[in-house]
Each structure stands twice: as C-alpha cells, then as structure tokens.
C-alpha cells in the first residue's frame, strides 16, 4: 500500500514537467495513478481481505507507517481513488488550454489525492495526523488557487485556520489515547479501548473537535461555502467526496469503542441535526448554484456525521452506504456545475434558462444525481436513506436510547429540505424560465461530460446492487453487537415506516419547492427579525481579538531596547540558576575542591585579566573599553594553553581577533565616549548586575564540576576517536564525528545569525537613504 502513496507522491513531483510537456492533457496521465490504485484496491475490498503494512519510521515516538485496509477504510479508499481519478480526468477539459497556473494545481491536486488516501489507510494515530494536516495544507493551496482574488485568499485562510485548530485539538486527543491505551494503532485502541476515565473522555472529545471542524459541522460550518471560491474540480473532490469526509471517517472509526459514552450520541446527533437543518435552510436561499450545493453539502455532512455516530450494527452499515451515495451524487452535481459554469459563463440561477435542451447529458446526470440526493428510487441515495431510517427506527431497541423518535423527526425535516433544495438546484440550473432569456452556450468537448455521467450511472447501478453492497459494507457492522434487525440494502423492503417516511419527505419537499416564493418570504422575515447567532461573525471577532492581543503583547514585551533585553536575560540568569546555587550551598551538596593554582603563570594571567576587566568597566572611551575586553579574551586563551587545550586556545584567539576588529568597525558609528548621562545610581545597578552574574556563573562552574556523580564520558572518547573517527585530535573528531549533530545545529544558528546581521544593516541602509534622500543616480 505504501507503493500507492509513493506513486501519488512521484506523480505529484513529476506533474509540473508533465504539464509543460502536455499542457492540460497532463491531467489524463495523472488520472491514471488514482485509477490504478482503485483497480488494485477494488478486488481486495470486495473480497474483504484485511491488508496491513508496517514500515518503521520513528519507533521512539511510536510513529511508524502502519497502513491498514480494513472494513471502514476499504470503502473510503475506493471513493478517494475512484472519484479522484474521474475528477483528474475532468480537469483535463475544465482548465483552459495554456493556463499558466495549472502546473502548480496539478501537482498539489495529485499530492492531495495521495494524502487523502494515506489518511484513510493510516492506522497509526500520528500518521493519521500527518496526513490529516497534509490535506489541510494542500487544500489551503487549492482553495487559494487564484491568489490574486481577495475572496480566495480569505476563504483559503479561513479553511486553514478552522481545520488546523481542529487538527491540533485532535492531535492532543490522539496523544492521550496513545498514552492511556499503550498502543499508537487505531485498530488496537478501538479493539481494546482504555477505561473511560475523564482523561480518555477528554481525549475522545478533542478528537471529535477535529472531526467536526474538518467536516464543517456547526459551529465550524462557515468555512465550507467560503471554500467554494476554489476551482470546481476542487469543490467536487475536496468538498464533496474526499476531505470533508475525513471527519466522518474518524467518527466511524472511533464509534465502535466510544459510542456508548454518555455524551457521545446526544452531542453528535444534535450537532448533526442542527447542521443538517441549518445547511438545508440556507441552501434554499442561494442563487449561485455552486453555493447552493455547498450549503447542501454542509447539510448532508451533518446527516452523515449523525448516522456515523450512532454506533449500532445497522447504523454503521447505513452510514457507509450513505457516504458512498453522497460521494457519488455530490461529486456528479459539482462536476455538472463546472460544465454549466464553463459553458454558460454564469452560475447564477436567475440568469440560467433552457439549459436542459442545450446540455442534455449534464442534465440527465444532474437529474439522476439529484434523485439520489433527494432519496428518490431507484437511485442509491434512496437505498441508503431507507437504511438510515430503518436503523434509527431500531435505535431504541438496539441501545435503549429513548430519543430515537426525535432524531427520526429531525432527519425527516432535514430530508424535506434536501428534497426542496434538490428541486431548486435542478430547476434553477436547467429549467426554461419564462422571465429569463434563454442562455447562449459555448460548446465543449464531449469528453468533458464523461466523468459526471459515469458517476451518475454509478448512482443508479449501485441502487440495483444493494445485496452486493450489503455484503461489502456489512463487514463494518461486525464490530457491533447484532441489532433488532439485520440490515439489508435494497430498493424494496415492503411497505414499512421508512418507506412511508420517504414518500412523505418527497411530497412535502416538492411542496416546499413549489411554494418557494412564500417560503422565501417567511425565511427572510424570520432571519431579518430574529437575532441569529452568526458563526462566521464570531469567528472573525475571535481572529481580530487574537491579532489585537498579540500586537498589544508584542508592544509591551518587545520594546526594542537592547539594555532592557540584556537586563532581562541577566536577571533571569541570576535569579533562576542563582537561587539553585544558593540552595545547593546552603544544603552543602557536593564537595568543593578549591585549588589556588596549578602553576605560577596562571596567577599572572588571571591578575592581568582581572585588571583588564576592572579597567574596562571604568573606561570612558569606547575604544579603550573594547580593547580591554579583548585583553580578557586573550588572557582566557592563555589559560587554555596553560591547561593544555591548544584547540580551544587557537579558536579563542581567532574569535577574539575577529570580534575585536568587528567591534572597531562598528565603533566608527558610535560616539567615542560613553555618555555622561548614566547617573551614578544606574551605573551601580549595572555594575551590581554584572558582578552578580559573574558570581553566579563562577559558582555554577565550581558546583557543577564538584557534583558529578557519574563517571566522566571524556576518557572514553579517546579510543573511538581513532577507531571510529580515524584521527588523533579528539576535540575536532568530537565536533565533526562523534557529536556532529550538535555541530550541524550550531552551523544552522551561525547561518541564521549571519542573515540577521546582514538584514539589520540593510534595514539601516534603507532608513539612512530615506533620511538623507540621496537620489538614486548619485550612488
């Protein structure tokens, strides 16, 4: 399976070159990758094989590439690859020939398909998180495809912030689950769930925050309609078939272990119902057919989360069936919208008229997919919805929950709205409207229509393939105890409650559509009068608040005064390690061994250094102070020599020289004398701070050397330095071989520091130019 992911990665890396070679037809080649994955996955999913693969990555963190093609991930992976292949194929006609942006788009889109496949296949919680955030970042790039438009940037940023917030919460939850259960594997966590302590419940709740934000449930639903700024293939794939399903996937995976938590079902069912109704109501008010679909998707995602969260055998199967149905019909509808957009040049249903005659194939596909969305037989949507209703009907007997009727009522209301906005979509996009002039359209290649027609055909074929789906999807139900009835996906169950409810919703939904003018009037009247909580406004308020706080905090903490910064560092150094020092001396920990000197030369050098240090503090000239500080440095180098450390001494002398000259170079721009102004009090404060820090550092050096408990590692470096490092200078071999990681880190710091110095001076140059206003040509 790791081959599948690598194939996507390689294809993504090669996509720009391919686009340069083949222009937009490159998408057809790229589509082969998910198509091949689909072909590989299909027989295994149908046969119900459990395929696992483990590659060690960072075993210390429990982070391994553990992939698992199981009961839930199987159908999801087929959707991700199958719809992905068709959408990529569609891209080959969607974009204009010679579009200069598609090299990036093609790479990001293919990488996204790979990340999404990785997400549904990963069994390791950290791997899941990695792929989860990869989809977030890549979707940010896809939504912001046209970064010159403000709306795109904003929508991309909103989607990124909201889903990353959820993702981070989820990561915290997953970490807790890993630690409490002792296994980083989702399959093992779910099979042997840790005891539902408060910590575990918090963990599950945090993971659900991730799911709810990714699947655009209330109160995070606003990002999804905004993300419709993306090109239509992105909407069809990310916002219908793939990414938004990630949350539902997570809920479906966790449900077997945690659906019986006291709050799980009430919370998720409520969120799902509210989202379903809010999305449906708002879809009824849209004029842009793509936005209409977007709100419809929000509504459907609420519905899907609801059913995925129920956690009974029949609900698990019905939920998967609904996921499949939704992926098929919603991506069809989005692709049809793309065709309308490209052919008629508008998506506003007030301007579209008579398209059913001009675009017969897209119209047929839209009707079929619409039937599936509204739950009209014989489409698969009907089969799935019947199954959902049947499983909710059994909720009371399966789980003992008494509120099944409420959920059923909510779903009926939501479904009525679904039927109504489906009718509004089909009518709005294709009908001949008396008061709208018929549209002119631009003919497009017949191949452009193929993907939505295939998907729509799949919706119908699947409707008749109920028993086959029952077998494949039914495996996901085996994680649960048997319910009151064994669920069967089929078009005809006989006359029962679900069928009656379905008929009711269809009739009422169409009635709602026919009466659209009075309904719209009522909706307007209500929303205008009632103070409605607006999630988007609250979100912007929070974002503004965070920015405000960060500006205030930066303004207070980062004042730009170097003495203040240095002072902070020095005081912290004196207080924190200093207090430990005092404590250690008070408790008489460690035994201090104080030798006066090993040899007389040391005394002379130290005396010189001390005098130079005192003279540097007393000096009034900057240059003299700098030179005296240099003397202390060279004195230190002398001490190194006297201790038999020529390497240190060499480096110290070189660094000291370099520093000294650099200091002098900078001093050219500073006044020759220190300012008279530091008043005596201030001066004494500085001197005291310096002395205290010096004392603390000296004391720490003595104390740490005296409180060694383990055997020093130094002597053990001598042998490997020769056998392993191939040299006799242990210091240098330590630097470049034994502790090379440290050196690499230090090198990076050096590069950052050098860049900082350079940018500082460039900043100053800019300022100087602005102040002195030197004309450009005079330099």
């Amino acid at each position: 399976m790791i081959t599948l992911l690598t194939a996507h990665l390689v294809a993504a890396a090669g996509a720009p070159a391919l686009v340069r070679l083949l222009d937009r037809r490159a998408f057809l080649v790229l589509a082969l990758v998910p198509a091949a994955c689909f072909a590989w996955l299909l027989p295994q999913v149908v046969a119900g094989d459990l395929v696992t693969q483990d590659v060690e990555w960072v075993p210390g963190l429990g982070l391994d590439i553990s992939l698992r093609l199981g009961e839930v991930s199987g159908p999801f992976s087929l959707l991700v690859t199958g719809v992905g292949a068709l959408v990529l194929f569609y891209c080959g006609w969607y974009f204009k020939p010679g579009d200069t942006e598609i090299w990036r788009f093609s790479a990001v889109f293919t990488a996204f398909a790979g990340a999404m496949l990785g997400l549904v296949l990963s069994d390791n919680v950290y791997l899941l998180y990695v792929f989860w955030e990869l989809t977030t970042v890549l979707s940010y790039l896809l939504v912001g495809h046209n970064p010159e438009r403000r709306a795109n940037r904003r929508a991309a940023m909103n989607a990124l912030l909201v889903t990353t917030l959820g993702g981070l919460a989820m990561l915290a939850g997953l970490v807790i689950l890993h630690l409490t259960s002792g296994s980083p594997l989702l399959s093992e966590i779910v099979a042997n769930p840790p005891e539902a302590t408060t910590a575990v419940q918090v963990a599950v709740a945090l993971a659900l925050v991730g799911a709810v934000s990714k699947s655009a449930l209330v109160p995070f639903h606003f990002w999804l309609p905004g993300a419709m700024a993306a090109p239509t293939p992105v909407s069809a794939y990310l916002h219908a078939a793939a990414m938004v399903k990630a949350g539902i996937f997570l809920v479906a995976v966790l449900a077997p272990a945690y659906a019986d938590l006291a709050w799980w079902r009430p919370v998720l069912v409520t969120l799902g119902l509210v989202t379903m109704v809010v999305g449906g109501l708002r879809a009824l008010r849209q004029y842009d057919v793509k936005l209409l679909l977007a709100y419809g998707t929000v509504s459907q995602l609420g519905f899907l989360t609801l059913i995925a969260s129920i956690g009974t055998r029949s609900a698990a199967v019905a939920g998967l069936a609904m996921v499949v149905a939704h992926a098929l019909f919603k991506s069809t509808l989005f692709l049809v919208v793309g065709i309308i957009d490209r052919s008629a040049g508008t998506r506003d249903l007030r301007d579209l008229s008579g398209l059913w005659r001009l675009l017969p194939w897209p119209f047929a596909a839209a009707v079929v997919a619409g039937a599936s969305m509204a739950g009209i037989p014989p489409a698969f949507g009907f089969v799935a919805k019947e199954a959902v209703l049947a499983s909710i009907e059994d909720l009371g007997t399966d789980t003992g929950a008494g509120w099944g009727v409420v959920a059923l009522g909510g779903i009926v209301v939501g479904t009525i709205l679904t039927v109504a906005y489906t009718a509004r979509f089909v009518w709005g996009a294709f009908a001949t409207k008396a008061d709208v002039p018929p549209c002119d359209i631009m003919r497009r290649s017949p191949w452009f229509v193929v993907p939505p027609v295939i998907l729509a055909a799949a919706s119908i074929v699947a409707g008749f393939a109920g028993p086959w789906f029952t077998e494949i999807l039914g495996r996901a139900g085996e994680a649960y105890p048997a319910g009151a009835h064994e669920l069967e996906l089929t078009l005809w169950h006989g006359v029962n409650l679900p069928l009656l409810l379905s008929l009711t919703t269809i009739v009422l939904g169409i009635a709602l559509f026919v009466a659209r003018r009075p309904v719209a009037a009522v909706q307007h009247a209500l929303t205008d009068r009632l103070p409605m909580p607006d999630a988007e406004q609250s979100y912007y308020a929070v974002v503004r608040g965070v920015e405000r706080v960060s500006i205030e905090l930066t303004g207070r903490v980062q004042r730009g005064s170097l003495p203040f910064y240095l002072g902070t560092i020095i005081v912290v150094l004196a207080l924190v390690p200093g207090s430990m020092l005092v404590r250690a001396f008070a408790l008489r920990e460690g035994e201090l061994r104080l030798d006066f000197a090993d040899r007389p030369a040391q005394v002379v050098v130290v005396a010189l250094v001390v005098v130079a240090a005192i003279a540097a503090v007393r000096s009034r000239r900057r240059l003299r102070a700098v030179l005296l500080v240099g003397v202390t440095g060279y004195g230190t180098a002398m001490l190194f020599v006297l201790h038999g450390a020529p390497d240190l001494a060499l480096t110290q002398v070189l660094v000291e020289t370099f520093l000294l000259v650099t200091f002098v170079l900078v001093l050219r721009r500073l006044p020759p004398f220190f300012s008279e102004r530091p008043f005596t009090a201030d001066r004494w404060v500085r001197v005291t701070a310096g002395v205290v820090v010096g004392g603390v550092v000296a004391g720490l050096a003595l104390l740490t050397a005296a409180s060694r408990t383990a055997e020093p590692i130094g002597p053990r470096f001598a042998e490997p330095a020769v056998s392993y490092g191939g040299g006799y200078n242990i210091v240098n071999i330590t630097l470049v071989d034994i502790r090379a990681w440290d050196t690499l880190g230090e090198l990076s710091v050096l590069v950052v520091a050098a860049t900082g110095v350079a940018s500082l001076i460039h900043l100053l140059t800019d300022r100087a130019e602005r102040i002195t206003r030197v004309p450009a040509d005079s330099g």
Binding site: D647, G726, N729, L735, V736, L744, T755, L760, A768, V774
Partner: protein
C-alpha cells in the same frame, strides 16, 4: 578609500601573503583530525585574511579578494555539511556516519581519508560566509553610510 589613508607597503605585503594564508587555512582545516585545527579554526583564519584585505583597501579590495555573495558561501557550506550528513544514509549507514578509506597513492604513500572531512569543509565554508557577511555589512555597509552622508551633507 582616499589615497591619503592608504599604505602602499601594507597593501603590497597583504596581497603577497593573502594566498599563502588561505592555503594555510585550508591546511589547518584538513590537519584538524590530528593536530589543533579543524573547519572552524581554518574558516576563522581565512576570515581574518579577508578582514585584513578589507582593512587595507576597503570594500573594493574585499570584493576583489572574494568576488562572491556571502549568502552563497553560507548556503553552500550548510548544504555541504547537510549532504555530508545525508549521503551515508544512501549507502546504508546512519545520518552523519563517517567512513575511513585508505587510498594508496603509489610513491606518494597513502591517503588516509576520513569522510567526516567533508562535513568539516561545510563548517569551514559557513565560517568564511559569516566572516564575509560581517565584513560586508558592518564594514562595507557602514562605509557606504558614511559616504552617503558625506555626499548628502555636500562634502
């Protein structure tokens, strides 16, 4: 630099010695496996050589001595060090693992090559880059300021 502040003897001697010092710095870098030295010390010596060139002739002299962008040297050094760290993984070793290869050179004896020397070359380059960067910004950059200000004042 104004001619009154130039010292011809200093300039000539510097130019004479410069290349020898650079070669010495490379020697110090390579000898680090056996004696005091290594990439850091070698880089500093080369940096000091550049510094003397700058002190002698200012910005122009420094550019003549090192006609490269400091950022390029820094980046190159970091890249060499990182590659020297990554390459062993492709050959089945661990990150930054070194190998000892003895190459017979006929009458010249034997070259005792330890692959960590490539890492040390990276260190050497980064330190030179840092020196160049400091000299260009705090040395040449400030010269530029002074010149601009003089010009603006009308000197």
């Amino acid at each position: 630099m104004r001619s009154a502040r130039r010292s011809v003897v200093f300039e000539v001697v510097t130019r004479l010695v410069f290349h020898a010092v650079i070669i010495y710095s490379i020697y110090i870098m390579l000898v680090g496996h056996y004696e005091p030295g290594g990439g850091f010390a070698g880089g500093l010596i080369a940096g000091l050589a550049l510094m003397v060139r700058y002190l002698v002739g200012g910005r122009k002299e420094l550019d003549a001595a090192a006609p490269v962008d400091a950022g390029l040297v820094l980046g190159l050094g970091l890249a060499v060090a990182a590659l020297a760290g990554l390459l062993p993984t492709l050959l089945g070793g661990g990150v930054l693992q070194s190998a000892i290869i003895d190459i017979p050179l006929g009458p010249l004896g034997e070259l005792h090559l330890v692959t960590s020397v490539f890492f040390d070359i990276g260190v050497y380059l980064v330190v030179i880059g840092l020196a160049l960067d400091v000299l260009r910004s705090l040395g040449g950059g400030i010269d530029q300021h002074v010149a601009d200000e003089d010009e603006a004042v009308g000197v």
